[in-house]
């Protein structure tokens, strides 16, 4: 015991010797990143950050482990994509109510860029700026760095208790009721909503949370999927393995720079018993699904070009 701790202390001592140098390097790096942020995203970015309503404890993080210092850089990089790569057009931001809100969106695009961009528009375009919370898969918690990153930027483990807790804290929570079925749609099924799960509706009724339907257009064209490789997915224990021909091209791993259009619909409120039969809950879910689908159809009709 003492043996090990002594040797650990020796290593620690050596670390302490190099630490000031590393810290100075890190400081320089973060100042230059900060400067770059201001030039790229405007002074407004830091001003917005200071206006976000946060529920921080004395230790500088929120009870779910979100650290505004980390969230700042994550938001900045997403905001950069939002403004300069996908050039997102956002409409209906006045529909976001002030307190707790459940954001229900269509899911698309093989990797969840749509979630990140909704988060960015909630921060960059909505008044007052909000930090969106989303739920992540449970197994991500077993991955080093990934689990740390998700927790620091405000993403929580996807269990119902956490969702309820966040809404009770008046947070904005994003849910994709289509789940994996939605994000891995092949190109032929683009903008056709898959089945919605019922959990979000029970949650909304139980916590008295308004639902804001969101239509995201542009995600389906960022990666053209011709189908799913089911056998390989089974072998890898992955939910899906999409077949993406564009990966063979140079820089094909990057999503195509389609123009995203995010429309926030009017908030919908539902009452009743959260523990009703599936059939009764389903009727309410259909209403939300139909709203998102019609918002999508309307958006697609007015869209002139995929890229501009």
């Amino acid at each position: 015991m003492t043996e090990t701790s002594r040797s650990l202390a020796r290593i620690g001592g050596r670390l302490r010797f190099t630490a000031p140098f590393a810290r100075r390097l890190l400081d320089t790096a973060s100042t230059s990143v900060d400067e770059w942020l201001t030039t790229k995203l405007g002074e407004e970015f830091s001003a917005r950050l200071s206006r976000v309503p946060l529920n921080l404890t004395k230790t500088g993080v929120d009870p779910f482990g979100m650290d505004p210092q980390w969230a700042k850089y994550a938001l900045a990089s997403i905001a950069f994509l939002h403004r300069h790569y996908f050039r997102t057009e956002v409409s209906g931001t006045e529909n976001i109510p002030a307190g707790r809100v459940l954001l229900i969106a269509n899911h698309s695009g093989q990797i969840p860029i749509d979630g990140a961009l909704i988060g960015a528009s909630l921060f960059m375009d909505v008044e007052p700026p909000r930090i969106m919370r989303a739920m992540v898969e449970k197994w991500t918690q077993t991955l080093p760095f990934v689990s740390l990153f998700f927790s620091r930027v405000g993403q929580v483990v996807g269990v119902p208790e956490n969702a309820k807790h966040l809404l009770m804290n008046e947070e904005a929570l994003l849910v994709f009721p289509e789940g994996v079925r939605g994000i891995s749609k092949p190109f032929s099924k683009r903008y056709q909503l898959a089945d919605f799960g019922l959990g979000f509706m029970r949650l909304a009724i139980e916590t008295g949370t308004p639902i804001v339907p969101i239509a995201v257009i542009g995600g389906e064209e960022q990666y053209i999927s011709v189908g799913n490789f089911d056998a390989l997915a089974k072998l890898l224990h992955a939910p899906v393995v999409p077949i993406l021909p564009q990966l063979l091209l140079p820089f094909g791993a990057l999503p195509l720079p389609t123009r995203y259009r995010i429309a926030f619909g009017e908030p919908m409120r539902f009452g009743g018993d959260p523990d009703d039969d599936d059939a009764i809950i389903e009727e309410k879910v259909f209403l939300v699904r139909a709203t998102v689908q019609s918002m999508l159809n309307r958006g697609l009709k007015t869209r002139k070009s995929i890229f501009f």
Partner: protein, 336 residues
């Protein structure tokens, strides 16, 4: 007439629980003593020193209690022995506080089981037999266990999965379960189960020992949120639980939660991030050579979240943690 009722009800091993309001007062409150098991542990001593100012206290421990307060009666008894019954017989016991749980990772499973489970069963038997009106059991939030799919704040209804990845704490879960069973079977005794988060202070538990290391190893890429509570706050919670008409299971949280890295920063100790697989392998080796007191499965505590929602204790017990986070953390360095 009413004075007759108690006599009828105080049968030995009452199998039929008395109906709520009809339950007779066995003896007027404030007259009996509080029996504290494990009174010579660091936490036990702390509790006894606070408690003896207001109530008469009987300490039970197989270890001696050399610097005990003068008005405290100490019985150097192994709780598995028959002699424990004599204590119940000799003096009216108004409440039992069970702290006497062994958690020495080096002791054998059989020893753990016999001490923690069989000993506790004996104690429960006497509590039932002598109609003790109050039983407070100190369990731990570790019974929930750190899991990747834990809710951020576990409520008292969450399943006790602590043994799933770390078999050595199954007897602690069993103690918690036994106490829960007792709660339902003997409504005449107000049973309170407290599940505090990692207790810090002069105590010698895994969490305090970990934070006492000169260089604190962490797992690379993992920095879970942790909750800690000072031993003084736990003593306060035990005091709240001893108040009349309190019963049930309560999570006991401390000051606000914080990431492990921030806790280490407050302690101003260097930390050493180690990849999980390497850390686990090294710890296993060190454990087998008896160079460490941390079994490898305990690494999960610095990998996954195991935090509790203590709102029930705040609302129903009136418990508030009073020691601020910095002081709570630094208390591990203060010699007892």
């Amino acid at each position: 007439m009413t004075s007759q009722l108690p006599m009828m009800e105080t049968g030995r091993f009452r199998s039929e629980p008395p109906v709520g309001s009809q339950r007779p007062e066995v003896r007027p409150r404030g007259q009996g003593a509080v029996l504290v098991t494990g009174a010579c542990g660091r936490l036990g001593k702390h509790l006894v020193r606070v408690l003896h100012r207001e109530r008469s206290v009987v300490g039970v421990d197989r270890r001696p209690f050399p610097d005990k307060p003068k008005d405290v009666r100490h019985e150097q008894v192994d709780i598995r022995r028959k002699k424990l019954k004599d204590i119940f017989r000799s003096e009216p016991i108004e409440a039992v506080v069970h702290l006497g749980i062994m958690h020495d990772p080096r002791a054998s499973q059989a020893e753990h089981h016999s001490w923690n489970v069989a000993g506790f069963q004996k104690l429960l038997e006497y509590v039932a037999q002598f109609d003790v009106p109050k039983l407070v059991v100190l369990s731990s939030a570790n019974v929930y266990g750190p899991q990747p799919d834990n809710a951020q704040f576990l409520t008292e209804d969450a399943p006790l999965l602590g043994g799933a990845r770390f078999g050595d704490i199954r007897d602690l879960i069993e103690v918690d379960m036994l106490a829960q069973g007792f709660f339902w079977k003997h409504p005449g005794t107000e049973t309170v189960i407290l599940r505090p988060v990692h207790i810090l202070g002069s105590v010698h538990n895994a969490a305090s020992n970990f934070l006492r290391l000169p260089t604190i190893p962490t797992l690379m890429g993992f920095d879970p949120m942790v909750q800690v509570v000072n031993e003084a706050d736990v003593v306060r919670a035990l005091g709240c639980a001893l108040a009349p008409s309190k019963r049930g299971i309560y999570n006991i949280g401390g000051p606000e939660p914080l990431p492990l890295s921030r806790a280490i920063k407050i302690l101003e100790r260097p930390s050493l991030p180690v990849p999980y697989s390497l850390g686990k392998a090294v710890l296993k080796r060190l454990w087998s050579f008896r160079l460490t007191t941390f079994p490898a499965p305990e690494l999960d505590h610095i990998r996954y979240v195991c935090m509790v929602d203590d709102s029930r204790a705040r609302n129903e017990l009136g418990y508030r943690s009073e020691v601020p986070i910095e002081e709570t953390l630094r208390s591990v360095d203060i010699p007892a």
